[in-house]
Structures are given as C-alpha cells and as structure tokens.
Symmetry: C2
Subunit: 383 residues, 2 copies
C-alpha cells in the first residue's frame, strides 16, 4: 500500500523550558492542526525518543502523549534507534500504514537534553557504542575526529573543507525560524573555536538540543480526502554496520549508509541523480561528505569538494541540509530524523520560505551511533 | 500479507548472571537454531526492552544484538511499551513482514532487573504512570491492590479467589523448565505471605526477573520452505486507555484490554469462544479475572469464578497461563509479551511437554502500565 505524509510540524529547537512530554505534545498538536486531522482519526501514535527515562526519569511518554492529544484508544509505542530514532519512527510509521494496521499514524519525535550537564548527555550517547570502545573513552565526537583525520590523510581533503560544511549549514539555518542557531559563521569561526577532539573544534559539532517534530502518515488513497498535494514515501530502508567501529575494514566507507541507501533507491526505482534535495546527518562536519560518498552523490574521496564548490548550497545542484542540519537546526536525538523528513515535506510542497529550493524528490539519511544503524528515506511530491 | 511465526526460544527466567546483551543473544541464537534459519536471512531485528539504559547504563542494545548474532546488515530497532514491550515487538514484527519491508524478522525481548535494588526497579516501573499519580506514591502494585479491593467489594469476589490465580499459575510453572518458580503453592501460602498493599500480599504479585525470549516471523508463503507446521498471526491490535488511571469512569473495565481484544478478534474474524488457550498478563492476581472479563471470556464480575472452578486450569475449558504466567514464569518486562507468544507457539504446535493442552487457536494479552496501553495477539496453528 502506498503511504503518504499529509502533515508536518516542529517546535523551536534549542534550549527549551518544559519537559519532554510538553515538547512532544506541542509538535504533535501542531501537526494534527497542520493536516488538519482530528485526534479521533489517529490509529497509531509512535514516539521516537532515545532516553526520556535516562534523562528525565520519565517513562511511558508515548502513553502520556496519546492522552494529552486526546488520541484514545489509538495504539501508542516508543521507538529507539539511538540518534536515528526519528527515522526509525518514520520507518515504523510507514510500516504501520503499509501493512494495513493503521489508516492514520502520528509520529512525534523528541528529546529533552539541555537540563543535564553536557558530560552526562555525552556519557549517555557514548553508551550506544560497544563496551570495548566505550571503556577507552571513545565517544561519538571522538569517532568523528578520528574519521576526519583519516579522511584528510587519505584524500587530501583540506581542513577548511570540513569547516565549509558548518558554514553552509549555519547560513541555511538563518532562514529557518525553528533552528537553534540562526547566525552566520565563517571558516575562521570554526577554525578559531575551542578544540574538542583534535583536529575538530566546537563548530564542527552539532549542539546539545531540546525539541520535537511530528509527521502524519496515511494511505495515499486517503490522503486525497485531506489535501490536494501531499508527499509520498517512495522508499525507506535501514541497515546495520559492525557494532565495534574499529572492526570495519574501511571506517570511511559508512557501509550502513550505503546499504540503506541502495535498498531505499531500489524500493523507489530511483538513483542518486533523481534526488533534488537531501537532509544528511551532520552530527560532525565530516559526516556530510562521507554520506554524500556512501549514498552515491560523490565519488569516494571527493565528497569534501561539494561544500567548497557550493554544489550543496541552497542554490547548488544538490542542496544539502537546507534546514541547517544537525549543526545549526540542532540535534534533539529522537526529533532529528523526524525533522529531516519534515524539512523535505516543506521543501517538496513549496512551503520552505526563504530557504526554498526547487525539488520534487528528496532524501533523508539519519545515522545511529557512528553509522552503527542507518535509515534512509526517499520522498516525492504527489497529488 | 499473511504472517507466520516459524521459530521460538527463551532463556531460563529468574535471577540470572550476565547482562541484557548476553541474555538477548542467548534467546536470539536459540530461536534461529530452532527454525533453523541462518542469520544472513534476517532482514529486521527488533529488540523489545523497556529500560536497558536506566537499569544498566547500556543503550544501543539492538545494534549490539545484530552484531552478536551476525545479522549484518539487518535493520535493528528497539521497541518500548513499558511492561507490554514484548507484545509491542510482536506487533512491529508483524507489521514489518505484512508491509513487505522484511521477509524475515527476528524479535528478541528481554530485561535484566535483579541486579538492582527492588526499590529502584519499582521506582522505574512507577515512572510509567502519570506524574499526578506517581507523586502520590501510587505504584503499579498499589493500583493492583486498589483494583482488588474494588473488585471484591463490587462483585463479592472472595479474597481466596484471587489467591487461586497464583496457585494455578505456580502449578503450571512446575511443568515449565524455563519458569522462575517451579514450586507448588496453596491458598494459605498466598494469604500468609507478607502484606504488600492491603489486601494483596507477596504471592499475589509477579517477581522481579531477568530473562529473554525470541520469535522469528516471515510471510506464510516463505514459512513452508522452512517447516511443515507453523503458527499464523491471525490478529494483533493495540489500544490505549487514559494515562491517568483515576480518570477512568470504571477502573475495573480495562477498556484498552477490551478495545485491543475487539480489534484483534475483528481482524481474525474470530470470537472469544474460538480460543482454546490464553496467556494473560497476571502482573497482579486480580488482573487475570479482569482480563477474562474485558476480553469476553467471562461476564463482568464473574471472572474470579474461573480459577475457583478450575475452568482456567490446564485441563479446564480455557487453560489460562499454562506457562505459569507472569506470576511464576517471571516478568522480565521486555521479554514477557514475547514469552507469552512463544508459549502459544509451543502449545499450538504440540511442543509444550507436560503442560500441553489441546489447542488450535490461542490469545495473548500483554498489559502496559495499569492497562494504559494493551496489545492482544491471536494465533492459530497452520501449515
């Protein structure tokens, strides 16, 4: 059964008051209003969230959301795929409709993180990795730095080319009213910022964020009852890589990105050249070129050239992260994959305001761990 | 697409050494061996687990499992619906196959709890409830006691009738080599045990447990390649009730049980009289008669008579919890709903040893919170 997305919404990302449950309700309510669809029509309600129990001591947030949005007796469930929880929610929401289990599925992704010390959230996120790496203090930011060092050495990628990713994504976010950082930066801002993991600095990394985003899914034939124009899920697939990163023969190959992309392209019957806009998982700057390569948008070792040459800018041949990406829109773990697809929804329907690009087909890639599990989604405008 | 279950396995339940990840791998490996299916055939791998992060400080357990069982590049995801996480996993595994997203889905549910103080696990489980109730100290066991008191007052249910549920389930567990308590008890054992929440005592409640259980799902047409006889998922549905229990007009109605049951029966085209065996969520003794009533097996207020009259015994007209139930098999949160369906799998295929009942069709009901979200599954033997 073909699956449509007929609504999208998100909260402001950043340092937010309130608890996870309030953030989820804010985005969920806005999404139902966006369609518009009444809560009584919702049959499944998925919450994409990695760690409300660890970070807030609050579990059962999916049942709370169903209650708060008056969705009863809708089925409720929480979905976790670490930093790719949002896209895991997209995948589950798709399956719920495609299987016939639900004719109207609300997906709300969110995370509340800024009330905790950064060291605590860093430790939580590090616990997604294999204990043999965790015990040595290899956090996700550290994996990013090692990958950047290897990438620069293997392919003569200039240090500045990584900074250009952050510069572009900050620029894009100045056009996104939901973004955490709506400020321009330049390459010097990145290179002069505090060292985090040599050679990467503060502005190579996404921030710690609060926020929530939501999407509404239904069968394509039902979508026409609500709207003339909607977005169709043309492909969606997920794949794992080794849980021990150092066991990978080529740590720069991002094999789960490649595998999930190939499966999604096969499902859609598309190829990379068909994509007009992409939202990639730039948790750390080097991940954007690595994903461009693994997804087939760039040759191996050449992904870094895209930002330098402006090909991934808003007016480039393949705009990447028009939303500002994780770097500048922010990265509330469970919200990110949902916000990526929400951005594509707005871009494909022409509702992206001053960051609007020309696009009929889009791709979102959400990365769990350091590529330990990755979900790629392909969307197109329909109606 | 019709969905089959072609393998099942579980670990011993109880006070186990090792961590969640080892328990999950033990059950998952045994399930693949049971089919037998090689890991390379698995396309989706779901882990049903409520709280590995909270209880062990270990997240990303689904990616670890995919790695440990050599399932790469299978997609991996964690599913949480509090104490009904296992059945949420069953629902997702069903949807993954029915939607065409996966042709072979491994579901492994598990929880490691006994290494923590009981007060800590009780607090974690209490955090599934609404804060307005949590703040007053209304834990799930306390909800059980209030429901028991109301049930006894409204329907003249004898106190002993609730104890009979525990007695029956302990007896059944003496025939289940995986069960946590393989010991007979009698009504006096229950009534003389330490008071927990007046009027309920220690033996009215399920224990704190470690353990894991696993199931393997594929399309019915693929099942015949592996086995002559398998189990078909005839119906599966989930529903929420109010997140604030005290807002329910009738707290004994278990409306999410009733709703999920009605939806599952409608999907299967069955009615309660078609069911030969049931696994119900006896976290506390009174929940078994309340579920019998909400699912249409007993009239309102008469569910307590079933255990007293022996109708739910192994040789009764509707054997309930032949496995020993949560009470005596044990209740490792994420494992329970998977173990319920594994028990039905063995019963329907005639592989249940000395606890075997005569059954072609079975029902499993897994309850999250105090009925805050409930999933009911209907299975039948096929081939």
């Amino acid at each position: 059964m073909d699956v449509a997305i007929i609504g999208a919404a998100m909260t402001d990302f950043g340092d937010r008051d309130g608890w996870i449950r309030e953030l989820l309700a804010e985005a969920g309510r806005a999404c139902l209003d966006d369609a518009p669809v009444g809560g009584e029509a919702v049959e499944h309600c998925y919450v994409a969230n990695m760690a409300s129990g660890e970070l807030e001591g609050q579990t059962g947030v999916m049942n709370a959301l169903a209650h708060d949005l008056d969705l009863l007796p809708a089925y409720a469930e929480r979905v976790d795929q670490t930093s790719a929880s949002g896209a895991a929610g997209v995948f589950e929401a798709y399956q719920s409709v495609a299987s016939g289990a639900s004719e109207m599925t609300l997906l709300v992704g969110g995370e509340k993180m800024t009330h905790r010390e950064t060291a605590e959230t860093a430790d939580l996120v590090a616990s997604v990795t294999h204990p043999v790496e965790y015990r040595h203090g290899v956090t996700l930011p550290a994996f990013g730095a090692m990958a950047a060092r290897l990438y620069m050495a293997e392919y003569d990628a200039p240090r500045e080319s990584l900074a250009e990713v952050a510069v572009k994504n900050h620029h894009n976010a100045t056009h996104n009213p939901y973004a955490q950082f709506q400020t321009e930066i330049d390459v010097e801002t990145v290179l002069d910022s505090p060292m985090v993991n040599d050679p990467l600095r503060l502005y190579d990394y996404c921030p710690v964020s609060d926020g929530s985003a939501a999407l509404l899914f239904c069968p394509v034939e039902e979508a026409r009852k609500y709207t003339d124009e909607y977005v169709r899920v043309a492909g969606v697939a997920g794949a794992t890589d080794t849980h021990v990163v150092h066991e990978r023969p080529d740590p720069l190959a991002m094999e789960a990105v490649a595998e999930s992309g190939e499966q999604a392209f096969e499902m859609a019957g598309w190829e990379p050249a068909d994509i007009d806009v992409a939202e990639l998982h730039d948790m750390v700057s080097v991940l954007e070129p690595l994903q461009l390569e693994a997804l087939g948008f760039s040759e191996r070792g050449q992904g870094w050239q895209a930002a330098v040459e402006g090909r991934t800018a808003l007016d480039g041949s393949l705009p990447v992260n028009p939303s500002g990406g994780l770097k500048a829109r922010g990265h509330p773990l469970g919200a990110t994959g949902v916000a990526q697809v929400a951005e594509l929804y707005w871009q494909l329907l022409g509702d992206a305001g001053s960051r609007q690009v020309t696009a009929d087909r889009g791709l979102a890639c959400n990365v769990g761990g350091f590529g330990n599990c990755v979900i790629t989604s392909l969307l197109e405008v329909a109606g």
